[in-house]
């Protein structure tokens, strides 16, 4: 279940990043439309809430909260690194 919670955290962070023009452009070649941006933000909030709920269910209020925050921070770093990788690969492809 911890893996599911972490996957949810990564998905939430990915949604938050896609709501940003730079990262959306890196992945899809254009900035997100306003409705799509709102959708990504909503999905990000839902994913964060789900990650928190899964951890609270597994670890209880005290430890679950710390685990959820740790997972969200870890997911944020992972998404940042993945986006950098994607952007670099995109730059290399466009140069060819």
């Amino acid at each position: 279940m911890s893996i599911l919670a972490f996957v949810t955290a990564v998905a939430a962070m990915l949604c938050f990043s896609l709501a940003m023009a730079r990262h959306h452009r890196d992945l899809f070649g254009r900035p997100p439309s306003r409705p799509r941006q709102l959708l990504y933000r909503l999905l990000g909030i839902l994913g964060t809430a789900l990650c928190l709920l899964l951890n609270l269910r597994d670890g209880g209020g005290e430890i679950g909260m710390v685990t959820a925050l740790g997972q969200l921070m870890g997911a944020g770093i992972l998404v940042g690194l993945l986006l950098a990788r994607v952007a670099t690969a995109g730059m290399n492809n466009s140069r060819r």
């Binding site: 990043s17 940003m20 685990t67 740790g70 921070m73 770093i77 940042g80 670099t88 730059m91």
Partner: protein, 509 residues
């Protein structure tokens, strides 16, 4: 000077000057998350032993009586647990205050060969192995870190816009600034909480004046009242016949309706006032319960049951949150990853400082470059050499732990000296040290295979995952370091137009 300008100055200098010390504290703190796993790994004599745990607390206490002749102020014993499958014993001699430590096989009760163990990194983390002065130095570094974190938030204009931004191919210092921001901002709650709790949990030791005035210069009285604990002053009368420790442990377990026994502490065992205190262990909570039962060592009478005041429970919660001994391996893994993010934040921040000033040839540039290499590379190299020494030093050698410590210190000194006298470019130096680290990390599982027949990956992979994970982490780290070394090769100068397009990827450490 505007707020943002003054905060920029504070962040730059308040971050740079303690950064090498902070790297030591954060890196060793990250390793200390796994101190018990490392300790287990560093004791290969335990890995082949099998059978039911038959040694007892009394057996450990008897070993102490047979092997330590000096009168003792106190000694403490911890039974085996899942993470530390061995008996632990520590003692403090009366008068001199000299401390000792020994560890025992849970099956036979035999003393194991000495090693620094994971505790070495933990002590380096909180006091640099320099006692009270070291604690003050680390505390001061923690305060600087808090100031740098808060000022960093104030000066970061695009904290949300650049939340996930990392452009490794960007120009000049931009890539490193991105890395500094990513690891700093995303991990900010962790860095803030750990820096704050790290300082706050030692506040009574840092600023003892209030307690000393209120308790007539008797810090023990202060601590006992704060903790709701129990203490009996020495009577200076000869000790009677002690009740076997195992009997008291059984009584405590019956009282708690639980077999989770923590530290067993025997105070002034050679005096008629001797008290045995037994603590309950509960790793399922952030703040461990301070359920300590104190018994008369000679009659077995229950003298006191600790009633922890709410303020102390709050304090213990902060201690637990900092120490990461709760919630299993997932919590330790997260703390480890975020601790490494903290290390990367420091490395990237220092590189930004260097690259901003590289063109101007600012005074002190070479000193910062040399310190960066000596600390950011020297400490990991020395830590790996310590693990090599653990496997290569014969088990029967006297003062084995001291030799391990010397191997660590001398390696770090060697890297520092080599950095200072080397005429190589920083990039070439970084590459060479990345290669050294990769070789040390990749070679360690091999040395393990050759020197410890019950401890290597082929044996532990299916049977002892906690040991296998240490070797696997070393292998993965070695591969990543080798890849990093291969990637950071000196580049040929490129035409200005192309350089603008591609950016740089030089490392200036």
């Amino acid at each position: 000077m505007k707020l943002r300008q003054s905060m920029t100055t504070l962040h730059t200098w308040g971050g740079l000057l303690p950064s090498w010390l902070l790297f030591v504290v954060i890196f060793t703190g990250t390793l200390a998350c796994f101190d018990k796993e490392l300790e287990h790994w560093m004791r290969p004599a335990l890995h082949g032993s099998s059978g039911p745990a038959s040694a007892s607390a009394q057996q450990i206490s008897d070993w102490l009586a047979d092997n330590v002749s000096a009168p003792l102020h106190a000694y403490w014993i911890h039974p085996p647990t899942e993470r530390t499958p061995f008996w632990q014993l520590g003692w403090e001699e009366d008068g001199s205050g000299q401390r000792g430590r020994a560890v025992f096989d849970p099956v036979t009760g035999a003393a194991l060969p000495e090693t620094l163990g994971g505790d070495f990194f933990f002590t380096l983390h909180y006091n640099l192995h320099a006692g009270q002065i070291g604690m003050y130095i680390v505390g001061l570094a923690g305060v600087f870190m808090l100031a740098a974190l808060v000022s960093g938030v104030i000066i970061h204009r695009r904290i949300f816009k650049d939340f996930f931004t990392l452009r490794p191919r960007a120009q000049g210092q931009r890539a490193w600034l991105d890395a500094h921001n990513l690891f700093g901002v995303v991990g900010l709650p962790f860095h803030l909480v750990l820096a704050y709790t790290g300082v706050a949990i030692f506040v009574a030791a840092y600023m003892p004046a209030g307690g000393m005035v209120a308790y007539n210069s008797d810090p023990l009285a202060f601590y006992h009242e704060v903790q709701g604990g129990y203490h009996r002053n020495e009577l200076d009368r000869p000790a009677g016949t002690p009740v076997p420790l195992d009997q008291l442990v059984t009584a405590a377990q019956q009282q708690w309706q639980s077999t989770d026994t923590g530290w067993i502490i025997v105070e002034h065992p050679a005096d008629a006032s001797s008290v045995v205190s037994i603590r309950r262990r509960d790793p399922s909570r952030i703040g461990s319960p301070q359920d300590t039962l104190s018994y008369d060592a000679f009659t077995g009478e229950l003298l006191h049951q600790q009633q922890t005041p709410p303020a102390y429970r709050g304090y213990i919660w902060m201690v637990g949150l900092h120490m990461a001994q709760f919630g299993g391996s997932l919590i330790r893994l997260l703390y480890g990853v975020l601790g490494l993010a903290g290390c990367m934040m420091l490395v990237a921040g220092n590189t930004v400082w260097l690259r901003k000033r590289a063109a101007r040839q600012t005074p002190g540039l070479h000193l910062v470059q040399a310190l960066n290499t000596a600390v950011f590379f020297g400490l990991p190299v020395a830590s790996l050499v310590l693990l090599w020494a653990n496997r290569l030093i014969p088990a029967e050698l006297e003062h084995r732990a001291s030799i391990e410590a010397w191997s660590f210190v001398l390696t770090w000194l060697a890297v520092t000296l080599a950095t200072l006298v080397s005429s190589r470019q920083p990039l070439a130096r970084a590459r060479a040290l990345l290669g050294v680290m990769a070789a040390l990390a990749l070679g360690l599982p091999l040395v393990n295979f050759l020197t410890a027949p019950h401890s290597h990956l082929l044996v532990t992979f299916g049977t002892a995952p906690e040991l296998a994970l240490v070797d696997l982490t070393l292998l993965i780290s070695g591969v990543l370091l080798a890849v990093a070394m291969a990637r950071y090769r000196p580049r040929q100068p490129v035409p200005a137009a192309r350089k603008t397009e591609c950016g740089e990827s030089e490392v200036t450490v």
